[in-house]
Symmetry: C2
Subunit: 333 residues, 2 copies
């Protein structure tokens, strides 16, 4: 592969001039610029990224470490991050931590070693590895879940409030025994959604019964099992708040297996407005989190910080909307 030296000799100039012509930093005479550019295309020259990074002591790459590539919420965030980053000339590398602290740690190490310009992270549980990153001084912003204060900016969705709103909607529809299927203890969103659910019941002076609550991994199969248990009780729930859309698939499978029809026999609300939720029958009522917006804002904050501004870390909280569809409309009974 050709180097800057090859370009320089072909163009009959020094490497310094090639570098300047290519980076538009200092001013170079138009005639030389043309010659350099011709040499570049003639040779098919592509600058060596590692060499450039080494010398400049910085890269134009952002790392986005998300906890589940197959979760629509996170891929929507990824699109938001990408769109902003590309406009600013940054590339985004997507890493899938799979809700696993070891993988997360591994990707954080890679990010540090590659000296990325910044990291956007949806931290896995409590024992996250964000401190390692913070020590390096690489700017970081957390999405979906908070980081210990001081580590960086954070972009959240007010998911507790959203869960409360969703539960209140189910109460308003006349459901009496509302259950909740949420993620593992220690995962902040899972805890918050459960808390919001309890907030609503408490405010409505309903007893919150732990027999109506199940926690499992944020996965369809686990949620299917959890909800099957819930329905197998002598006093089963008549409605369910489901904490993410992968889980919703499992819950729908369990509901179908029991011959129940959402909206008629059981009220259902799930987090995340994944495209498919609108086409199941009946359509699924969802808590629509502004995922793309979360990604955009996170990227903007990160780039601002890379641009050296030394503001104190801030928390941005966006709100979710409830999209009422037929799976929670009691009137469908």
């Amino acid at each position: 592969m050709p180097t800057i030296n090859d370009v320089a000799s072909l163009a009959g100039v020094s490497t310094a001039t090639v570098s300047r012509a290519l980076n538009g930093k200092s001013t170079v005479s138009p005639a030389l610029v043309t010659r350099v550019l011709e040499a570049v295309t003639a040779l098919g020259y592509q600058p060596n990224g590692p060499a450039r990074s080494l010398r400049r002591r910085e890269t134009a790459v952002l790392a986005l470490i998300i906890s589940d590539v197959e979760n629509w919420f996170f891929t929507a965030i990824a699109r938001g991050v990408e769109d902003v980053a590309h406009d600013m000339g940054y590339s985004v590398v997507l890493c899938n931590s799979d809700e696993n602290a070891d993988k997360e740690r591994r990707y954080i190490d890679v990010a540090i070693q590659e000296r990325v310009a910044g990291v956007i992270l949806s931290p896995t549980g409590a024992g996250t590895n964000a401190d390692v990153l913070a020590d390096t001084g690489i700017p970081m912003v957390a999405v979906d879940r908070p980081l210990p204060v001081g580590f960086g900016d954070t972009v959240l969705v007010d998911t507790r409030q959203a869960a409360r709103m969703a539960t209140e909607h189910l109460l308003a529809q006349g459901y009496g025994r509302i259950g909740c299927v949420t993620g593992p203890a220690g995962v902040r969103t899972a805890d918050d959604r459960l808390a919001g659910y309890r907030d609503a019941l408490r405010a409505a002076r309903r007893r919150t019964s732990s027999t109506l609550v199940r926690r499992s991994e944020y996965k369809g199969t686990r949620a299917q099992q959890a909800s099957a248990e819930l329905f197998a009780q002598t006093e089963p729930p008549d409605a369910l708040l489901v904490a993410n859309s992968a889980m919703a698939i499992g819950v729908l499978a369990a509901v179908r297996e029991l011959g129940l029809r959402p909206g008629r026999d059981v009220g259902l609300v799930a987090f995340d407005d994944a495209p498919w939720t609108a086409v199941v029958d009946p359509p699924l009522t969802v808590v629509a989190q502004p995922a793309y917006e979360v990604g955009r804002i996170a990227a903007q904050l990160l780039l601002a910080r890379i641009g050296s501004s030394r503001r104190a870390p801030a928390v941005t909280t966006l709100t979710a909307r409830l999209l009422e569809r037929a799976s929670s409309r009691r009137s469908a009974r």
Copy 2:
């Protein structure tokens, strides 16, 4: 951030020894290894990736350039790639070309500049940029869609055969006017699925009518519009083969809007066994492509080639399975 020099002086050895101790290349006395390791942890040393890449003239990074991060088929491939790559000590950076040749070109340039060890690519349309990559000699394997011969290994699914099988299934169920909603002309999978559909009709001595075929972007909204047009005709189709799962969402929306019920009023088969397809009502009959397997095999081929073997490029073709569910069972009528 500490460098190898800091580690060396703290451990009281030369940088060469630190390097050797850390890379386990040549043999270093156990006592020194311990001292080096202690210094490393004391300083929180993380090797500088760009410097290492520059010197070694290689990286342990693979680029995976896919055409749609929100498409389950591609994220499943990504998991397959990742699992294999990680086992072999490689990191995977995921890039979303968005079915856009310019973005694809941009990511290929990034991959070249970063001197990645290899590239896995689902090439966008005909005018793909793979030749640029091929010129550099960076190993490459194509997934889902073929590359001009000689460019690299290719892992495909026999999607034409699968489309034929799916169409034959609809014929066997007694559907008489089977339509097809597929992707844009020039996208190989879209063309192949259409061809397979026609193969089946021809074999059954049915007329293939172009009024029953629609092409659009591989997206839900576009497919919704396309299928609405199809159904608005005086002689609408009584069944549809849909070329991917994003499109299936749009088709289901159109079908619902018309008050039709899949399986009873219209037979439906779609490509890709996305998790949600099993929980719509009625469950969607799908062509299950072995996406994860495609990813695994692609990564294995790529790593083998990075490991210098100079075999001629090969094409691996996997087969898909038809999962018959209620959306195509005429008996449900």
